[in-house]
Structure formats: C-alpha cells, structure tokens
C-alpha cells in the first residue's frame, strides 16, 4: 500500500470521526492495510520546502493521522536552521484555505466557472495547443510563473521548448533586479550575492527590510541576532537609513531618518568621506572609486537628505573601521528611479571597505537573480495586448494584483483567447482565466527549490491532497504529450509523472554530489534531510571602472507633494498572505493594526489636513487614486506617506475581501534600469469625510514608567557581564508557604535584546494551540485570543523613538493572582510550576482575567469551536489543521498560554521511554521553536545547569512587574542599547 492511500483512508476516517461527534453511534474505521512505520496517534514528520516566498526555507511538517497540523523549520536546512517566519508558520492556512479551488473549472460563455472533469479539461487544453503546434504557431503560447529555481522550472522550460512556446517569464513582484544590475555594472557578475550578516561588525542598511521580507529574512534575522548580540564583551552595531521607522529600522541601534529618495546621495557622501579620510581597505582601486563618485558636496547632501554631515562622517567611519562591515540596500520601499545607482554606490561602499568576499559573497548566489526582469513582464504584457498570445499559462503568479494598475495587465489578459490558471486559490488573475486547473499546494507536491547556489531543498507530499487538485507538472506533461501526439516513454516529454522527472533530475544531482552512493539510498537520505547542501566557494570579483549616472533622481521629475513609500508587508509579502486569517489577525509589528490596511501619514501633515486616525483619506498620484484610513505617525518623515503592499484584494477569498486598497494602483508602469520604481511618485492627499476606524489591540506605545520592557546601556551590560553580577532577587513577603517542586519546574527566558518583533511566535502559538481567529470587530473590542502577543514600546522623542519589543504571555507566576480568585479552582498551580487552566472546570466568571496584571488571559466571548455557531472560526477544511493534542475551547471558557503542556507531556513521555529525566532540547515550546533569533529558551529551572536556568541567572535578567511579588517563571533579559549616535 502506498503512503498516499493511507492518508486517503485515514483522512476519511478522521472526517467521519469529526462529523460523528454529534452523531450517535460513532464509528471507528480501521485501516484496510496499514502502512509501515505509521501509527495513528503518533506524529510523523515529513520534510519539504516553504514556498510562501522565494527565500526557500526548509520545513518539516507534522503529520497526524494523515493531515498536517503544524509546520516547523527544518533544523538541518542551512537557510533557516529550524526556524520559520510568520508567513512560513501560516503556510498551513494556504493548504486548508476554505476558499481553495476544489477542482478544475472552465468558464463558459456566460463567464461563470463550471466544474469539469480533469480529463476533459486536459483534453480541451491539449487540443488548443495541438492546433497551434500544427500551424507552427508555438510562439503564440506563453508561460508566466513565479520564480521556480528547481526541477519544475526546468520542466516548464523543456515543455515550452518542445511546444515551441515563448521563453518562460519567471515573475516575482519583488525581484531586487537593481541589486543584480548593479552587480553587473560594478563586478561584471549577473547575480545577487549572499549577505553574511553574522560575520559583520557593523551593518549599514539603506532601507533594506532584511528582518521582514528582503531576500531571505529568516536567515538574515539569525545572522543579525548573532552579529548584534552581546557575547564575550563584543556586540555588533546596526545602522538603518530609511524615511520610515520600519520594523528593521526599529531594531537598528541607530535609525537615520532621511528625506525620501536620498539614499544614493548618502551612499556617495559616505564613500567620499571614506576616501577623503583614507579609511578604505588596502588594495582598493582608488582612482576607479574617485572616478565613480565624482566630487560630491557632503554639506549639500546633508542639507538635501536631512542627515547632518557629522552623522554621515560618523557612519562612514564606523563602517570603514568595522572590518568587516556590511552595507545593504534596496528594500522595495527605497527602490526609486535611480535604484541601480543606489545599489552601485552600495556595492562600491562594500568594495571600498573591504567587505566583498567577506560579508558580501558572490558564488553562493541568491535564486532571486534568476527571476525575470520587470521589462520582460511588460514585454509579455505588450505581446498579449497586441494579440500575439493565443494561450497563456499562469502558474502561481497574480500579476493583476501585483503589477501596477497602469500596466493594464488585466486588459491585456482579455486579448488572450485562452488564459489557463494553475492557481489553487482564486485570485485576481484567475478571475480572468478561461480554464482553472488547480495545482497542488506545495505541501502536497513533489518538487524542489534552490534558494541559493549549493542548496537544493527537496519537497515531498506531506499529506494526500485536500481537494481534487493535480500537480501542475503532471498536467503539463500529460497535456504536452497529448498536444504533441507522443507516447509515454518517448519524445521530449517522456516521463510518466512529474515525480519521475524530478527523480531523473536528482539522479544528476546524486552523480555530482554523492558519486558512488546508490541512488535509492541517496534519494531516501535527501528526502529525510530535506534536500542536499554543500559549500560553494566564494568567487573573487574585481570592481570595474564605473560611471554613475548621477543625474537620475529617485522620484518623477517636477512632481510635488509627499513621496509615496510603499513597502512589502511583513505579514502579506506581495499580497499572497492576505487570504490567511492568522496573518490578518496578527497585528502589524509597528502600527499594531490588525485586519486592515492604512496610510501612514506624518502627524504634521495630518494636522494640516485635519485628519484624525481612522479618517478616510483619498490618496492620488498622477497614475491613480485610492482611499485608505489614516494612521497618524509621529516618526514618519514629514515628506512621506507610507502604505503597506498586500491588502486591497478583490478576488482572493473571504479573508482578504474588503481590506483596504492596493497602493500599487498609484505607481507608474514605466520600467527603469532597476525594474519597477516603487519609490517614484508624489501624492496629493484629500480628506474624504468618511471614517473607518482601525482595529489596534495595543493603542499606546508609552510604558508610563512601568518598566515592562527594560534596557541597559552597552557599557553597563559589559560591566555586568564581566562581574557576572546576578541581580538581586526581589524578596516580597508572601502569606503562602514556599512552593515545592518535586521533579521539574518549568520556566522560560526571553531575551528582549534578541526579539525583533517579527511575530513568528504569535502564529506558531496559534497553530499549535488551536487558538481561534475572532475578526476585526472583536479585535477592536480587545477580544483577540492571542495567547502570546508582541508588545511594542517606545521611548525617547516621538519623532525618533527607541523601540522595544516585548513578547508577552502568561508569566506562570509562582504567586499567581489569578489562582486564588477562581471560585471553582479552574485556575491552579501545578507541581511543575505551571499556572494551569482547566477548561472543563471553568465557569467563566473572568475573575482571573480581572486579577491578572499581565493581561494575558483570553476569554471565549463567542462560540468559536462549534460548527453550528455563527461565530464558528474554522470553516471547512480548516478543522483539519487543529492539533488533536489540544482541546478546542468552547463558549464562556477562559484560556491562556499553557507553555505547550502537550509538548511537555510528550517530552516527558519520550524521556520516560528511555528511562531518564527530561533534559534540554527534549521539549521546545512552539514559540521557542520558531523564533528566528532564538530569543526564547524554555527549560527546567530546578536543574541549575539547564540552559533556561543559566540564562535566567544572566545579569540582564528581570521580571516584568516584579514589584507585585508575583514571582513569574519567565525571566526577561534587558535590551542592550548602544550609545552609538546618541552623543
């Protein structure tokens, strides 16, 4: 019996068991033939690749009874080393999205999509293709895909070649082609290099949101944390230049707020200072550098950019003396018309300070360098408009949403007689498709993806398909063969399935990587490990003489008004995350807005416009206009308006509907050398008079001297570390006897210095613990159910604050205020130090919630768990994601963080099987497991040598609201602030 059949049967039996709850009698269905090594009730793990963005992190999927209930990072994968970001964690809601396309659809003359059989749909497409091939019109076939750097991409190219189709366009809305273009100009290498944040001592970022979406955010976050953490008296420094206080900017030691579009000038000024002061690395070609930058006037640049000349000099010195430092740039938000020049200047900065080859590595090049350029996409659009395309296949791309409206891609689609979409979620592009052939979700598919040279992640079906989807590779092979009238095993598309093609490709990899190993063994090992990876040597590059076209400015000539800063959302990326309710409900890290989109408007401008928060504002550029509620910001540059990309969907399922507007409607379509210029328009704002209040769970950023999130200066922290001084433990008198912990005492440490506020833990917790999604209205009431939230606190001047991120969850207090007030003992203390909540005992008085000083208890105001309820939070097939180890709570019940009690029980069970006690690593809570910076450590505080114990004795350790005498089991470590830039 094949594994797939097992999943089918078990899936069916689970479904029967679930619907059977209300029915009597209940049935239990045994397997007909059991698969090897799979035991119902015991999780199996399958490795795959996360495809929520092209970073290509490795994942392992936890399979229980044939369905995936949790995603975790693959600990062996070199990109993410076991951790995942917020979007990766939410990947499951793509798999189980209730709006998924359930089978092939064909639009009839009336325009309504009608279900068709797969055979019929494939035959229909094959006949159209065959007719074109017969007339030698293969050029009229076009394929538009997302970036596919593995076998699927190669198969599609082979398919296109066999049919004589046009070259495939691998479209990524954020393709960072300016970096690639600059690499060509400066180093003569057409690639996006690998950036080693962990090896740098100073990181200087020009608007690159490397902790959010830029290139490979999980890998960068880990590198950043290692670079930035205080260890053995050393700590790196991070400097961020951006007009907006992005999450990455908030994590920098120094945020430099520049005038929008002045990044190139600043980079050139830095180069000038470095050369003038002779700070360049030895062996640098000075003449070439001087020739490239010309003779910029640092004073004038300081005035233009709003960054004082002293700051420019100080940053230049810091970067040059870092040895090595690292300069990165070109987040989408700062991609102006002069983007390539910005990147050239940044490459030169790295070259001048000797970072190339050390922290900027060509060789292990990023897969982003293989994406098609924006100009290629426009060329295809133009061909479509001219009627040159007869059949267009769209595979996992949503250009109608992600291209500026001015490209009129939707109109061009209407000129194509047959548009075939392989989307498995309905989207704006599939809305125009005549034929929808839903592809499998990546977690149901065979495949591979190479995020950078030397790393190939392997994907395998981690469960049987949820719906009647078919792998795009299988469909293409079948359709292509029918069109070419060739038989299986012959001709250019001889493979029976995509899986066969994949294996054939991997035979090639095996010969290269592991010659001598039998292929079956290699294949099995690769499946288990999640791919193959090997070191790729850094290729030495030499800077070429460069002439910078410094005449170009970032924004359109002659325009007036504030500049539009539109940036990829941490939660939605290019918009593909917007159909996932977990991501909608997780508040934005900086603004704290949930379930909506907004326009961040500087406070001064808002005052002039007489706009309050939540007032609808019409935002117009020469290219379009949108309406969005205002979010008033003190910190945004007065000359900018910032709008996140990702919301404003019209056809992307129920969760993405009516959530603001798409700012890409404001952009021009004109291609620039650096691709689409996101930072190029200036805006006119008008108050409309309408209101749409925003749902903001944490409305204030002011701690009111409560010292929830604490910090300590670097010098002081160093001193504490040297002395090894342990902070005095508060000894508050208690009327209760001291608690005894017979075996374990569970506790946790959270390093505020490492927490970057990315919220991956929030979603990991939601996924692990069956936490329901409540919707915008309830969030606005403060009834969101997050067991774990990231508090964002700010100190200092409002226009230039220092930000502290504080993960807040149940503190599992030793003297817990919630426990004595519970009239039914639903809240009580366990012998292992956990503050427990017994759902079936809870009667919902909410006394515990009122008495909790940390506000971490969550009440079920509505019945989220029963299908008959109007507030049911899990429409089909979302219940398949529910963790069977955790109860789904009912109406009127209090709930909160359990420190993943189910994982504690599981870890203890495994240890007992082996006849030993639990040690470090046996139990990882969901939040700890996914944290890209490893800020969270869980463990046994009773064992003085456990990691949690050791970290909790750190001289930076403190308890939140210690003065209340609650004696929390969670120790926070103070953030280490730098004096950098504060003098």
């Amino acid at each position: 019996m094949k594994r797939r059949d097992f999943f089918k049967i078990v899936g069916a039996s689970t479904a029967a068991a679930m619907t059977g709850c209300a029915r009597s009698p209940e049935q239990i269905l045994p397997l007909v033939i059991p698969p090897d090594n799979l035991v119902p009730g015991v999780a199996s793990w399958f490795s795959s690749v996360c495809r929520e963005c092209p970073a290509g992190c490795g994942v392992v999927a936890r399979n229980r009874e044939g369905r995936i209930v949790k995603l975790e990072g693959n600990p062996d994968h070199p990109v993410n080393r076991g951790t995942l970001c917020i979007r990766g964690q939410a990947g499951l809601q793509g798999l189980y999205n209730p709006d998924r396309v359930r089978g092939p659809l064909r639009r009839d003359a009336s325009g309504a999509p009608k279900p068709v059989a797969w055979e019929e749909a494939e035959k229909f497409l094959a006949e159209r293709l065959a007719a074109l091939i017969k007339d030698k019109q293969g050029r009229r076939i076009a394929v538009l895909t997302q970036l596919e750097s593995g076998s699927l991409g190669r198969l599609m190219d082979a398919w296109g070649g066999a049919l004589g189709a046009r070259r495939r366009v691998a479209y990524e809305p954020f393709n960072y082609e300016a970096v690639r273009a600059a690499s060509r100009v400066v180093f003569g290498r057409d690639a996006i290099p690998d950036y080693a944040f962990e090896d740098a001592n100073v990181v200087l970022s020009f608007g690159a949101d490397f902790l959010e979406t830029w290139l490979s955010p999980v890998a960068h976050a880990r590198g950043f944390a290692r670079m930035h953490a205080l260890a053995h008296g050393r700590a790196g420094t991070s400097i961020h230049v951006e007009p907006r206080l992005s999450m990455t900017a908030a994590n920098a030691d120094e945020w430099i707020r520049n005038t929008p579009g002045t990044e190139r000038l600043l980079a050139v000024a830095l180069l000038k200072v470095i050369l003038d002061e002779g700070l360049q690395a030895p062996g640098v070609d000075l003449a070439a550098l001087r020739g490239a930058i010309g003779a910029p006037d640092v004073g004038a640049i300081a005035r233009q950019s709003g960054v004082p000349a002293e700051t420019i000099k100080r940053v230049a010195r810091a970067l040059a003396k870092a040895k090595p430092g690292l300069a990165v740039g070109g987040g989408v938000a700062v991609t102006g018309i002069d983007a390539v020049d910005v990147q050239v200047a940044i490459h030169l900065l790295n070259y001048a300070t000797g970072n190339v080859g050390r922290t900027v590595r060509f060789g292990p090049d990023s897969a982003f360098g293989k994406a098609s350029s924006y100009a290629d996409v426009l060329a295809l659009t133009e061909s479509m408009r001219r009627g040159e395309i007869e059949v267009l296949l769209v595979v996992h791309a949503n250009p109608v949403f992600t291209l500026p409206a001015t490209t009129a891609f939707a109109d061009a689609l209407k000129k194509v007689p047959l548009v075939v979409s392989f989307a498995n979620q309905p989207d704006e592009t599939s809305e125009h498709a005549h034929l929808i052939l839903p592809d499998l979700h990546p977690l149901e598919s065979w495949g591979d993806f190479s995020p950078r040279e030397g790393v190939v992640g392997l994907m395998q079906p981690t469960m049987a398909p949820v719906f009647g989807s078919r792998a795009v590779g299988d469909v293409l092979i079948a359709v292509g063969r029918q069109a070419l009238r060739s038989a299986e095993g012959k001709g250019p598309l001889r493979w029976a399935t995509f899986q066969d093609y994949l294996k054939e490709q991997w035979r090639g990899i095996a010969r290269e990587v592991a010659p001598g190993t039998p292929f079956d063994q290699f294949w099995e090992e690769a499946l288990r490990r999640g791919g193959v990876w090997r070191g790729v040597p850094t290729v030495p590059v030499k800077a070429q003489p460069v002439a910078m076209a410094s005449k170009r400015t970032a924004t359109e000539d002659g325009a007036q008004g504030p500049t539009l800063l539109t940036y990829p959302s941490l939660r939605f990326y290019d918009g593909r995350g917007a159909n996932k309710p977990w991501l909608q409900e997780a508040p934005d890290s900086m603004t704290q807005v949930a379930w909506d989109s907004w326009a961040e408007i500087p406070a001064e401008r808002a005052r002039t416009l007489q706009v309050r928060q939540g007032d609808l504002v019409r935002i117009a550029s020469p290219h379009g206009a949108i309406e969005l509620p205002a979010y008033i910001s003190e910190s945004l540059h007065p000359d900018a308006v910032a709008i996140p990309i990702g919301q404003g969907h019209t056809r992307y399922g129920r969760y993405a509907k009516d959530r603001g507007a798409n700012p890409l409607a404001l952009l021009p379509q004109a291609p620039t050398p650096g691709g689409l210029a996101f930072l190029s328009v200036r805006l006119t704002l008008t108050k409309t008079g309408g209101r749409r209040p925003l749902a903001i769970p944490q409305a204030t950023a002011n701690q009111d001297e409560r010292e929830l999130a604490q910090h300590v200066g670097l010098t002081a922290a160093r001193e504490l570390e040297l002395r090894g001084a342990v902070p005095e433990k508060a000894s508050h008198p208690s009327m209760y006897p001291d608690l005894k912990y017979p075996e374990y005492r569970w506790g946790m440490t959270i390093d505020v210095d490492s927490c970057i506020g990315c919220q991956a833990c929030v979603i990991a917790c939601k996924a692990e613990n069956n936490v329901p999604v409540v919707g915008k209205e309830q969030v606005a009431y403060g009834r969101d159910m997050h067991w774990l939230r990231i508090e964002r606190w700010q100190e200092g001047p409002p226009h230039h604050p220092d930000t502290l991120f504080l993960p807040m969850l149940c503190q599992h207090c030793e003297v817990a205020p919630c426990e004595p007030v519970c009239p039914v003992f639903a809240s009580y203390h366990t012998q292992e130090g956990l503050n427990a909540q017994v759902y079936n005992r809870c009667v919902g008085t909410r006394y515990c919630n009122n008495n909790c000083p940390y506000h971490v208890r969550r009440f079920n105001w509505w019945d989220y768990g029963s299908p008959a309820s109007s507030s049911y939070a899990f429409p089909d097939p979302l219940p398949l994601q529910l963790n069977p180890d955790v109860t789904v709570r009912q109406l009127g019940v209090m709930e909160k963080c359990t420190m993943c009690i189910q994982r504690i029980i599981g870890g203890k069970d495994r240890a007992r099987d082996e006849g030993r006690k639990v040690t470090d690593g046996d139990i990882l809570t969901a939040c700890q497991q996914t944290c890209p910076t490893q800020a969270i450590v869980f463990g046994n505080l009773k064992d003085p040598s456990s990691r949690a114990s050791r970290v909790s004795r750190s001289p930076r350790g403190y308890h939140v609201l210690d003065e209340l005498g609650t004696r929390p089991a969670i120790t926070y470590l103070k953030k280490v602030t730098r004096d950098h830039g504060k003098t």
Partner: protein, 192 residues
Amino acid sequence: MRRQVGVGVATLALFAAILSLAHSAGAQPAAPAQPIAFSHQIHAGQYKINCQYCHADARRSEYAGLPSVSRCMGCHKITAADRPEIQKLAAFFNEKKPIPWVRVFKVPEYVHFPHKPHVRAEVTCQTCHGPVETMAVVGATTGQNLTNDLLNLLGLARSSTPLTMGWCVECHTTMNATKQTKAPLECVVCHH
C-alpha cells in the same frame, strides 16, 4: 407519625427504583450491534490471543488502535473462512473498505487518555475495559449517568467501569500509595 410513614414509603420506592434501574440498564451495559459479530470471548477468552496482538498501537500511541482488516485476514484467510461472519470480513477486505465498527468506549473530548503510559505501567486492559475476554458482545455504560451514580451511592458493584474522573483519580491515588508509581494527579495532564 403519618409523615414518617410517608418518608419510609418514599425511601422504599426510591430504593426499588434504583434496583430496577440497575437491573435494566446497569446489568446489561449498552452493547451496540457491530457490523460483524466479532466475539472477544472466542479470541481473547477461548484462544487467549494477547490483546495487543490486535490492538497493537496501545503500547506506542495515545490510541489502542483497531486491527487493520489485513491483520484480521492474516488468520482468517484460512481460519473459519467458511463462516458467514468471516465471509463478511473477507468482503470488506476484497473491496478494500474499512469495517465500520461502532465505538463502545469513549471519554469526553476534553479528556486526553493516552494508552501508552498505562501499558508501560503494566495496567491490564481489563482494569478499564472490564472482563472483555468473557464478553461475546462488548458493551459499556460509561460516563456520568444516573445509573452509575446511584449504584455507586448504594455501594453496589457496577456493571462496567464508569471511566469517570473520580474513578481514574482513585486508581492513580491507590497505585501511588500502594505501588509507589508516579501516576500523575495534575488536572492538566488529561485536561489540556
């Protein structure tokens, strides 16, 4: 005086009611009709087949597991293949369909009962499931119900194990006191 007689009559009536209830419901626990007349008496009683030969997941998993149809057929391809009930089994196997067994033992959904640690602690299956090896048809009246409560009140032997929380806790406490086991008594071990 009259009132006292009244109370006495009422008590007697209640007692009688309990006894009749116990007789009607308690003595014959709800035994649902199964798709195949499978007898534990024959398998576990007469032939002394180990419980875990068929319920093989009990030592590995939260669930005890039902034998796969192929496991049944492992013996019944030959053994008693001519009997009508076995032919029903063969039909399920040949059609590759699972047998729709009707569930007998169930704890509420907010309770996590893992079989594995109980097997590891050498608790016999009969402790919770009753003398299954003597039952031709397995039935049980579990949970909080009037019959169980009243029988308990009167100190009468219960027809089947009630699988109620008090009953679980009682066993855990007794075992910890008498056999020095470490059976957990934390609420959240089962309720999470």
